[in-house]
Symmetry: C2
Subunit: 326 residues, 2 copies
């Protein structure tokens, strides 16, 4: 293991100078920096993070905590989140990943990190997040809107996403739009419905209240809600489903009733889950910018660590993924 002392010896300077040079201190003359940099490179020097940690009182570890839904749906975005964060973090940082529920020793685990990122997918996470807001560490919450002044928060603009999808459907000539909403207590349900209604309003399209049915984000609820919609005297031409799972359920129902998609009825989902590409027909849906949210979240954490605090709340645009269900 090569240390700054080894470099110092070769360069004929003190290890202090090497340390300063490698950290690009303004105290060191460019020529010296240059020389030391070259020696370090030729020796394949890597700084000892543990020693840095000890003296700097930093761990160079960022913690990532994710929801743990029993449904097994929680892992949907995890890979993208990890990639997004890892591509943003400088190389001396490590990303330590945990799930919220198997937190073995919160009190001794949390303080050991420089900052925390939470990928939240359900309001069941609120207690955990509340706990985090107490401790004295920068925390960013991804994916769900949280109104706590102490937390950084990056979410997607779901309303805008749905607006765009409905707008697109209107261009296509559809006129009668129905919605299967998500769990009423979820902010995501509210946001998505907001975008939906706004799009209709902006195009002066009427919205009969029987065209709104309330699901719970499960496949099964998509199935039953769609049934309800199709049995209406004047059934809709499009079913917007507040997530892909319900869209899958709704698709099944339509197919069972002998309806052709999209000829007889259009379906729109939300989330762009991996499976949505394989439904029959492939689902037109709205994608959250998970990768970008994660990158931004990591950057915000870094900024916060550097004291360059900025705005606390960030909203990223979604993207419409056009396939064949509309």
């Amino acid at each position: 293991m090569v240390t700054i002392k080894d470099i110092a010896k070769i360069a004929g300077v003190s290890h202090t100078t090497v340390s300063r040079a490698l950290n690009d201190s303004p105290l060191i003359k460019p020529a010296t920096k240059q020389k030391i940099g070259e020696i370090a490179r030729s020796l394949n020097y890597t700084p000892n993070v543990n020693a840095k940690s000890l003296v700097n009182q930093k761990s160079y570890i960022i913690g990532l905590y994710f929801s743990n839904l029993s449904a097994g749906t929680s892992d949907r975005f995890l890979v993208e989140v990890i990639k997004g964060i890892n591509t943003t973090l400088p190389s001396e940082y490590r990303l330590a990943v945990h799930d919220m529920t198997t937190l073995s020793h919160p009190a001794e685990e949390l303080p050991r990190m420089d900052g925390i990122i939470v990928m939240s997918q359900s309001d069941q996470d609120d207690a955990f997040i509340e706990g985090l807001s107490q401790i004295d560490l920068p925390v960013v919450v991804l994916n769900r809107q949280i109104d706590k002044p102490s937390l950084l928060n990056v979410t997607s603009n779901d309303a805008q996403g749905v607006y765009q999808a409905i707008d697109y459907a209107i261009q296509l000539g559809y006129q009668k739009f129905s919605i299967i909403e998500g769990k009423p207590t979820f902010r995501s349900s509210i946001e998505r419905k907001k975008g939906f209604l706004q799009a209709l309003a902006d195009h002066q399209i009427a919205f009969p209240k029987e065209y709104a049915v309330i699901g719970d984000y499960s496949i099964e609820s998509g199935r039953t809600c769609a049934k309800q919609l199709l049995e209406l005297a004047d059934p809709p031409e499009v079913i917007f489903c507040s997530n892909d799972d319900m869209a899958i359920g709704a698709t099944n129902t339509c197919l069972e009733k002998g309806l052709a998609i999209p000829a007889d009825i259009g379906i729109i989902g939300f989330d762009n889950i991996p499976f949505s590409k394989y439904t029959n027909p492939p689902l037109t849906t709205i994608s959250k910018p998970v990768f970008e949210m994660s990158q931004l979240g990591a950057q915000l954490l870094l900024d916060s660590l550097a004291g360059t605090v900025s705005k606390k709340q960030y909203l990223l645009d979604t993207e419409l993924t056009i396939r064949q269900s509309l």
Copy 2:
């Protein structure tokens, strides 16, 4: 931040004694240990991992690397793997998660960990694994069988799993069994077919070679392979699919042909992916013990670190998840 010196002062001993006591050294008298332990607890003392790391030349970080299939299927097991490992690792260890492809600086990243766990899902990972086998760190590969003496390896006994499923189907009265194989170069395909054939052989059930068709683990291939099977003059009663994706494709084909599942034809999958619960009908499939594999993998790494090396290769039993497609 309370240190061992603080404890030492209160206990009226030297900090060395505190260190030894806290590490349960046999050199320290039980009474002293007892007292020091109590003080530490009352002070809410947590050891400074960075200081330990520095002096022990250990990072207390385990790296987890996972496959990055473009298909987006790679995240299937990730959550379970992370949980399994985290529940096994002692609390001073951190699990740093990465994906293999965005490895920014392998040379300086890898040596910074005490050991490495790889969750592999494809033979595309072989180059990466080969690289790991060069460096001087304990490495355990999960999920795929790797024949390198330097690596620890935990996999599931796929052959046994398929054997059990077919055996179960035979109890149910089925007699004509077909198989949709996975990618021929994959060891998993070979293992699964082996269990399949063995079960038939042990029950003296004939296996016409046209009952074997070769897929590629994709939904689409499940669809076309099933078609091929159903168009046979004497079609099979059961289609065993070497993974769930193909089982989903096969299910679609059967349904399109107006066949009732399981009345007209039985389907068996492999993997127990989250979605398999929601297929129509819910899929009977074989589950790998991902959580247990991960726990065992983490334990082996720990043992390896402690010098308690043991057997290198481990095979864990799968489990049959009975639902309604058979």
